[in-house]
Symmetry: C2
Subunit: 388 residues, 2 copies
């Protein structure tokens, strides 16, 4: 069985579809939480399912270093290994090798880096990345691309884009697992003509789906959205589109509006562990004094495990007391909020009422709040360390 | 409704009973995991129930400092606050004030200590401890006692015991919540004549149950067991007996054999977080290399959530990668193992087959292993800091 995509409906640029995978169906638009080391931090797979999470993303870089991709293969592949048994996407490992590895060197052959775990030196090639992802047994794999920080220097972006295209061709040629879909990645920074070149080249290679890369790395929001809109419009209508590393509530809505089907990001789970929770009324920080005495749940009417069983006051106490259960409950709440938002968007699109939904939603989720600025700064700094 | 105890059956000194509480029944012998700050670390109440945990113990010292006992009272009491809604025991706060507080001074009036959270100075009196535990709304409360490290100096032990008796009288007089059972504590170190004096005095005050204190603080195992046997035999047959701070598998079996009904201890959950798991074949450390490739569960046939859904190899990976899910799965396994052991003991006692069960069990859980020596050393050091 291979991976296929059905486009079910549209409303303006917004789309509803279903991604069929060997591990199950993924109704789109869909958000994929990040299971960095084979675990969405603090949460069990049963809780992911209960929260309505349809698919997760595993980080090839981390799993390559520990426990090793051959170990994961011998234990049934990532989905079985982590007891999830549902759809899984993997990234190429490039972004993490670039931002987390030591002594990184970008060569034509691939990305050289040193493991922070044991100091060993590795060369991540396009072919290697494909082999690792085939070993991990993900349903959707990504080609290796060259990551850059946000920059206005068009020649730097062009040169990285051209290397990404050569790597895409090598990845395409190396890929042999018919059960696994391979997605190409469109690069080109915030330059419309580069994005056009990149979309034309990458789609000409004929991938099962397309990711939009190189965004949400420090550029202004308006540029992110404009670039997403322009790039999505250049992609084949019948194939799935993934936006890499985007996941704040307002970004999800803004980018579904511009034609994206799939997202992955650590933001919803990371900010949860700092007490920043998403509610229908906007963001709150549950560690603040206002929640110390609140008997009701964090969000009235929320159907998540945390809100059904625990008071906001208890969650406030757990997080202030650094109790691990608090991290879990907060994570579950945000995962459920994001999954519910995706469900609501799907419904609104099918009813032809997406713009009313988006307008209403964005009144409560705009402008970007502190945790998102922190997230962007974090990514920018991680990448800037590599720019020179 | 008040707390009552039914003795259901005996086999030698071993007993089966039921502790009836306003929050539900506790079949005994029973082990209570420690919910230090209103949470059994890493585990949700639903998971405690699924693991067969019948009752938990909250630490009055921690809850007094954060979030405060009046806060807990206003949020429905500890059992509701933590979403457990089952039976709860509290300790007096004395042991933690003594071992964790700064600038501790034992006065006749009570225990003076400085909060490590905010530096404030507090005096924990017998009356105050009762008031705090009434505010927490536990089903079983403990009198304040004076804790000591293991010492052979009989006069030091006697003097602390006598103060404990005066504090027991003051605690008894201060206690007014008819829904809450108050347990007296028998002290006297490892000296049979002091234990006899203490048991006579404390039982004469007429408590709802009796705890055995001052053990498992560094004395040789043989002395622990002998003292438990001697003390238990001095307690009223019809009332429940609790052994404070004991919880390794072999100690549970050895002390049930000597007439104890209830236990509390952080050991099973603490050692789990370091990968030390209890199985029917004895202790294992799941972080060791042997588990890296093990496809089956940590323990074949185990009915815990972790063993039913995850491989030993995955648990090994999670713990090595410091993933919080690993801490949770390991904790759940040990809690289920201990709860199952208590169930098996109950069954064996009712069948009159306890000594065969104990003999078989202790072949796999003797002598004490590393994690227990570490636990004893930890307690001893914490208390020694106060001896001078």
């Amino acid at each position: 069985m291979s991976v296929t995509f059905d486009l079910v409906g549209t409303d303006g640029a917004a789309r509803v579809g279903v991604l069929h995978t060997p591990h199950g169906d993924v109704p789109t638009p869909a958000f994929l939480p990040v299971a960095t080391q084979g675990s969405v931090k603090t949460v069990a797979p049963q809780e992911l399912r209960e929260a309505g999470v349809p698919m997760v993303l595993g980080n090839t870089y981390h799993l390559f270093l520990r426990p090793g991709v051959e170990r994961v293969r011998s234990l049934g592949g990532l989905s079985a290994f982590m007891g999830w048994n549902g759809p899984v996407m993997t990234d190429s490992g490039g972004f993490q090798a670039y931002s987390l590895g030591s002594r990184v060197r970008v060569r034509e052959e691939g990305l050289q880096f040193q493991s922070p775990v044991d100091g060993s030196v590795h060369l991540l090639t396009p072919e290697g990345s494909i082999a690792y992802q085939e070993a991990l047994g993900s349903d959707v794999a990504m080609v290796l691309d060259q990551c850059l920080a946000y920059t206005q220097d068009q020649e730097v972006i062009r040169s990285a884009m051209e290397r990404t295209h050569r790597w895409a061709q090598r990845s395409r040629a190396a890929h042999s697992d018919a059960r696994q879909a391979l997605f190409g990645i469109v690069q080109g920074g915030v330059f419309p003509d580069l994005r056009e070149t990149s979309a034309a080249l990458v789609t000409s290679l004929g991938f099962a789906g397309y990711a939009i890369g190189g965004l949400s790395v420090g550029e202004p929001k308006a540029m992110t959205y404009a670039t997403v809109a322009a790039t999505a419009s250049l992609l084949p209508q019948e194939q799935p589109r993934h936006l890499l590393g985007v996941g704040s509530p307002e970004d999800l809505v803004e980018c579904v509006a511009r034609g994206v089907d799939l997202f992955d990001c650590a933001l919803p789970t990371r900010v949860a562990r700092h007490g920043a929770l998403f509610t229908s009324q906007g963001r709150v920080n549950v560690t603040s004094a206002a929640f110390k005495t609140r008997q009701g749940p964090v969000e009235e009417g929320c159907d998540c495990f945390a809100c059904r069983h625990f008071s906001a006051a208890y969650l406030n106490h757990l997080l202030r007391a650094s109790e691990l259960l608090g991290l879990r409950l907060a994570t579950i709440h945000n995962l459920r909020f994001v999954a519910r938002t995706m469900e609501q968007m799907r419904e609104a699109i099918l009813k032809g009422a997406f713009s009313a939904f988006a307008e209403d939603f964005l009144r409560r989720y705009r402008p970007a709040h502190e945790e998102e600025r922190v997230e962007q700064r974090r990514k920018r700094l991680a990448i800037r360390a590599r720019v020179t």
